[in-house]
Structure formats: structure tokens, C-alpha cells
Symmetry: C2
Subunit: 429 residues, 2 copies
């Protein structure tokens, strides 16, 4: 175990056991003071953010990988991500040392502490990465089985290719937005009541998809696939992803080229990138893969035990209600397999690409990662304490996803990704 | 007619009637001296490029829209594209005046001419745009009919949605490459001879797709669709696009989420962006659209008469042979309709997005825009003068596409997009 993952490690900053941000986490984000001021790259510790740009300018990152590189004096993490694992681990080690209870440099320097440790509620988080390309996979077997069963019956639920390769498609990068962005209900073509004639409408079957996504570090040259054994060198960290979906738009448009407008109006991500280094203690075994994957996909890494919860709060509800509890380990194909597959034709990835998992559903009915599955196409409405029901998302509903890996006495968490659906806009043509 | 489109306008630079770059064109590109030196934005006139960065620094662009903006002192056209049509027309008018036979400023200043007019064969063209997102449509009825007929028969060739909306999907922006980039044959999963079991193989059914793409100028805010009547304000210009496709990879992978690896290994574009202003004289009527499009798609603009040719040259052939002749007007859905559809859910476009047409096939067998159609799934090999045949692209084959609009005594052309297929790389897992 790397010393930065030691469960007994403590910071001089008090961190509650249920906090997402103990010294074992040290995720990366980008923020700005709410009262105005410079944008800076930061990490999180307890209820504080730590200004890494200031520390960089103060010469703290003086190791062989980072000295003089000025990667934290940027407005996004892309430059830091474009380095390599040695640089990432050097930064993690430096920050971990600086925050540890035994290290006086920052602990005993009150003026420096006041300059670089800012209460989290005094800053606004910003999009941490300039996302180049966004890809979305479909890698949870239970989700693919559920959706396939609804439309084709359980015998033909999975298409013949599903267990041979991680099915995926290209998404829209421009509309990936940060947690907290509220969204108008999208409009477009949907099938009318006769099931044959399209009509223009606000989406009536609005859904979320509970996903996680990884962002890439160094890329590969066009034409040179990334061998699956080297994929870990190209994966920087993970975020929670809500792949908002308009099911009625999707149903009408998606043949034969896949989802397009149903998904391109917004995809929300959590503000903190949790690194693979922080997640090392939470590795788990993957599922048995049968048939055996082809050589270019053979890998036993990329599965992690990360609990994931989804909450819905309507405007008349007094608090968010948990509607699903899943886990990142509920994936058939791992992120390493996804990346190897994505590049096998020679497709190039670049620092800051986002590759999402697809909806993560577990085996029980309360672990499904979308309203489509939770309400089984609307046949089983979800019931809430105030008497309201939901089959799909209503105007005014806020969807919040959160996730963490549980250590002994601490949690490595992702914070949350939240967004509220506002009524459709009035359009003029 | 705008004065810059006057067919009688002539430059003091000699331009042959068959040149793609008369004074009526003035496309935008980015280049670098082959002998080394600075990257600069340029236009083309006859066999010369005109250095717009130098002219900008000399104060030539002093009109109200461009003065002080320094849009040509960039490495890509994105900043210029992000302005508006008034700025684009001001630049066009300034350049047209400067190059016209009657205007002495540049004509009679030999030292300035030598500084800013460079023989085209002394420069290397570079990618003119930093492409944010890439979308590919499927808007030629004949192409959709041909492909649908091969797989489902002529009665069910078009899916029910096809005539109601411009079907499209998100593509991969990172692998959009410039004309002249040679590419290794991609490898991946394809179905074996039994038609059921996948195997790992270099693609045996390698194809091109003849397309054109438009690049966007100013974008829209997330949540605010672009009304079809305003789409012209957001379209900067057009390029020729070769959407390389591995048909065997595509066939196995594409259900249910659409093409992914079959397309993401490369998309080639021509180096010059021809503006909508240059194409004004070549507007044509679109096809009759039945059923009538919904209000948000109603538009009578976006079709242009642009001849498009495809050539194939094998390594043992003495020259490129024309294998297809199509036309940009062979599109059912126009670019304006494509853009209105793309944003109707509120999806945001940004300056420099690429939206391609989909394969452009005409009604005759020699006007089909892909090998899949030209050889009808391989059933009708193309025959070449040296006795060779082709059903799909072989190693060593070079595919070249070119296109132009024919005026009276002049051509507004796109140059060409070319690329050679090299053998598959040896891979190690």
C-alpha cells in the first residue's frame, strides 16, 4: 500500500468519518471565490479546499516531475493530466505530506494556512476539465438486460455482440455541464399516441442515467492502439456522471445510428476528480467474463467498490429521497477494457477526454440506475412519503447522485452531481 | 449579387478557368512554409496563397468589424469564425478589393507582393479549425435507400423516421485529420465466416464515404435552439469530408447504439474552407419534401450545386481513376435543417464544430458515394484499365475527392481531400 493510502493517516484539519474528503482522497477540482476573484486548481480536505496554484507559486511542488511545470497555475486540469503517473503520484505525495498531522510546514504557519485553505462554502466549483471528446459505454449487464427485456423480451435482451465487446457510442462534449446546472426540459420529435405519427412536444419521458466516467491523461498517437496492459497509464481519475436522457425522443430517432438528440442536450458531472491512486484500496474483482474476452480485452483490473446513490426531490417534497442504490462494481466491462477497445482501431484519445460507463444497475429492483428501469417503463410508479408518485422526471424535480468508497473509518468520496429540471422553454420558429 | 461574386471580376494574379481559386472564391486555410517558419492564416488565389496574418499586421483589415481584433494572427480560424456574418463579409470584401485587377495597393507594391503572396507549392497546409464536436448526418435519400435496400429490401429501406428528421449521430472529433494524412488499415472485431462468431482481424471491407461538412461560426447558449431561419448566421463555410468506414467492424458493433469504432479511426477533411458567401451564386432548390417538415425544420435554403468526384489510385495504377461523380445538391435535408434539428433540444454548438452531410449519392450507379454502393456489397467489382478490380479499398490505394461549383468562366473549388491506406500495423497485446 502506498503511504498516502494508509487508513491511519490523519490531517491536522479535522475530517469527520462521513466526510468525502479525508487525507486519503485528495481529489482535484477547479474553483473560484464566490465573492469574486481568480480561478484556481484545488484539492479538498474536510470542509476546506486547498489552493494548489498558490502552493505551486510558493515552490511547494519542487519534485523532479513537477518542478517548474506550473501545471496548477491553469484554469483546468488538462495540463496536469497530460503528464504521467509518476507526476500524479508526486503531486499526491506532496499534498498528503503537507496536510498530514505530523508535518508543521502548513500546520504551524497561520498566515499561509489562511491564504491557501478556504472554507468550501466560500467557493464556487467550476468545470475541472476541458473535455475534448465524450464517449458513453453501455457496460452494465443488468442495465442492458433490463432495457433489452422491456423491448425484446428476456431471451433476446442482449444483442449478440454485447458479451464480446464493450458497446459504446460517441456523445456530445459541448453540453457536458457541471453539477448545479439546472436544465430546461428538452423538446423535439416524439411519436404521437397512434405510435406511428411523430409530433413536436416537450419530452414526457425524461430520465437520468447513473454513471461514472473516467477522464484520460496522456493520449496515444492516431494509429497506435493502447494495449490493455498499459491503459492504467492513461487513466487519470473518475467522476460521477448523470447522462440525462429523453426516452421518447430516443425511441423515435435512434434507428439506425443510435441516440442523438435524446442525449445531447446535457450531461452533468460531479466537480471533483478522484484519482485512481486514491481508489487503489477499493479495487475489487470483476465478474466472470464468459465468453472469454479476446486478447486485446483481457484484463483483471478496473473494477472498484464505490457505492452510488440517487436522490429525487420534487418541489413539494421536504428533502431528497433515495430512489436507487447501486455500485460501480456492477459493471461487466471495466474502464481498462473500455479504453483498450476504444483505441483498438487506432482512434486517438487526448488528455481530458471523458469516457462514461453507461447506466450502472445492480441486480435488485432498488439498484437500477434509471427511471426507465426503476418504474419499469412507467408500469411501477415510485411512491414518495408526501403521497406523490413518479414514473419519469417531472418539472421542478432535482436529481442528485453521490458516491463514495468506504474505508476503515474514512470515506473516499466524489461529492455529488445535482441538477434540477425546469419547464420547457417557449420556442419561436 | 454581392460585388465579390461578380463573374467578371478579375485579379491581377492570373487564374486559369479550371483553377479552384479565382477571386470569386477566397477560401480560408492555415499553412506553414515547407522550408520552416511561422504558421499563418491564408486565402488562395490561383496558384498562390495570400498571407492574411501579414496583411492584418500591416493594418489592411481596418473596417469597423475587424479593426484591432487580430483574428488572422491565430493558428486556427476559430476566432475569426466566432465573429459574425458582417465581419466575414468585411474580410471578404477587403481581400477581394486588394486582389482585384484595378486596385494598385498590392498589385504595384512588389516588395509587399513578395512578402504576402507565396506560391502554393511552397507551403504545407495545416488543419484550419480546432474542431470541438463532430456530428455526422445521413441526409442523402439515395444513400439511405441503397444501404437500406441491401440489408432490408427496397420496401423497408428507409426507417419510418427518415423523412421526418435528419438522422444523425455524434462522431469522433480527435481523429478528424487533414487531407494528405495516410492511414493504417484499422483492426478490430468482425464476424467470422459462420456469420455468428466474432474474430479479430484487420478490416476486410474498408470504405470511403463522400461527404461535405460545414463548420459553425458563433454558437448558441445551452438550452436555446437556433431557429432554422437564423441558422445561416451560424454557418461559416464548407469542406469536403471523407468519412472512412470499416464496414465489417460496423456490421458487428453497431447494434443498438450506432457506428463507433468503424468510424472513429479517421475522418479526412480538405484544407480550404469555402464560405457560404462564395457559394451564394450556386444556390439551388432542394428536393420536394414529403411529408412536409415540422415548423422547426421548414426552410428553403442550404442546397448548392457543387460537383463532387471521387478517384481511386492503386499502387500499380499510373494515375487516379474517377470512380464516382456526385453533387452536394443530392441531399434531402439541407445544412440549415441539420443545424436547426441538432439544436432543437437546446444542444449548444460552438465555433469550429463540424457537421457533415452523410454520404452523398445520386440516382445513377456512377454517382454513389461509397464502395459499398458502387460495388453493391461487393457483388459488382469496379474494373480499372490495368485489369485490376476493386470491391473495397485495398492496401496502397489512394482515395481522392474533389469538388467545385461551376460559374461562367470560373470555378469556386474546394481543392481536394486525399489519403492512402497503408497495411494494418502489427499489434502486441
Amino acid at each position: 500500500m502506498h503511504p498516502t493510502n494508509d487508513p491511519d493517516l490523519r490531517s491536522f484539519i479535522d475530517v469527520a468519518p462521513e466526510s468525502h474528503f479525508p487525507i486519503q482522497n485528495l481529489p482535484y477540482g477547479v474553483c473560484r471565490p464566490k465573492e469574486g476573484g481568480e480561478v484556481y486548481i484545488c484539492t479538498a480536505i474536510g470542509n476546506y479546499v486547498l489552493n494548489l496554484a498558490e502552493l505551486e507559486q510558493a515552490g511547494v511542488f519542487d519534485g523532479p516531475q513537477l518542478d517548474g511545470k506550473r501545471v496548477f497555475s491553469e484554469r483546468t486540469l488538462n495540463k496536469f493530466m497530460s503528464l504521467n503517473r509518476a507526476a500524479w503520484l508526486e503531486a499526491r505525495t506532496t499534498i498528503s505530506n503537507l496536510l498530514s498531522a505530523d508535518e508543521p510546514t502548513l500546520r504551524d504557519n497561520q498566515s499561509l494556512r489562511e491564504e491557501v485553505l478556504i472554507p468550501m462554502d466560500e467557493v464556487e466549483m467550476l468545470m475541472p476539465v476541458d473535455i475534448g471528446d465524450y464517449t458513453d459505454f453501455y457496460s452494465s449487464e443488468q442495465h442492458a438486460f433490463n432495457v433489452g427485456t422491456m423491448f425484446r423480451g428476456p431471451e433476446n435482451a442482449l444483442k449478440p455482440n454485447w458479451k464480446h465487446l464493450p458497446v459504446g457510442y460517441h456523445g456530445r462534449a459541448s453540453s457536458v455541464v457541471l453539477s448545479g446546472t439546472n436544465l430546461h426540459r428538452p423538446q423535439g420529435q416524439v411519436l404521437g399516441e397512434d405510435g406511428e405519427t411523430p409530433e413536436f412536444s416537450a419530452s414526457k419521458l425524461l430520465d437520468f442515467e447513473l454513471e461514472m466516467g473516467f477522464v484520460t491523461g496522456p493520449g496515444n498517437q492516431l494509429g497506435d492502439p493502447i494495449p490493455v496492459s498499459e491503459t492504467r497509464e492513461h487513466i487519470f481519475g473518475l467522476m460521477i456522471v448523470n447522462d440525462w436522457s429523453a426516452r421518447d425522443i430516443q425511441k423515435w430517432e435512434y434507428q439506425p445510428l443510435g441516440p442523438f438528440l435524446a442525449k445531447n442536450w446535457a450531461t452533468s458531472v460531479s466537480p471533483w476528480i478522484v484519482t485512481l491512486d486514491a481508489l487503489q484500496p477499493f479495487k475489487t474483482e470483476g465478474p466472470e467474463q464468459d465468453p472469454e474476452p479476446m486478447s486485446y480485452l483481457k484484463s483483471d483490473e478496473g473494477w472498484y467498490d464505490i457505492k452510488l446513490d440517487v436522490f429525487l426531490q420534487g418541489e413539494k417534497m421536504d428533502k431528497p429521497h433515495k430512489i436507487a442504490a447501486s455500485n460501480y462494481k456492477n459493471l461487466y466491462w471495466s474502464m481498462n477494457q473500455q479504453l483498450a477497445h476504444h483505441t483498438i482501431t487506432g482512434c486517438n484519445v487526448q488528455p481530458g477526454d471523458l469516457l462514461a460507463s453507461g447506466t450502472i444497475s445492480g441486480e435488485t429492483e432498488d439498484s437500477y440506475g434509471s427511471m426507465l428501469e426503476l418504474s419499469w417503463k412507467g408500469e411501477k410508479p415510485l411512491k414518495f412519503p408526501n403521497g406523490e408518485q413518479r414514473t419519469f422526471i417531472q418539472d421542478g424535480d432535482t436529481i442528485t447522485m453521490t458516491g463514495y468508497a468506504q474505508g476503515e473509518g474514512y470515506r473516499v468520496g466524489f461529492g455529488e452531481v445535482t441538477g434540477k429540471i425546469k419547464p420547457a422553454k417557449e420556442l419561436k420558429f
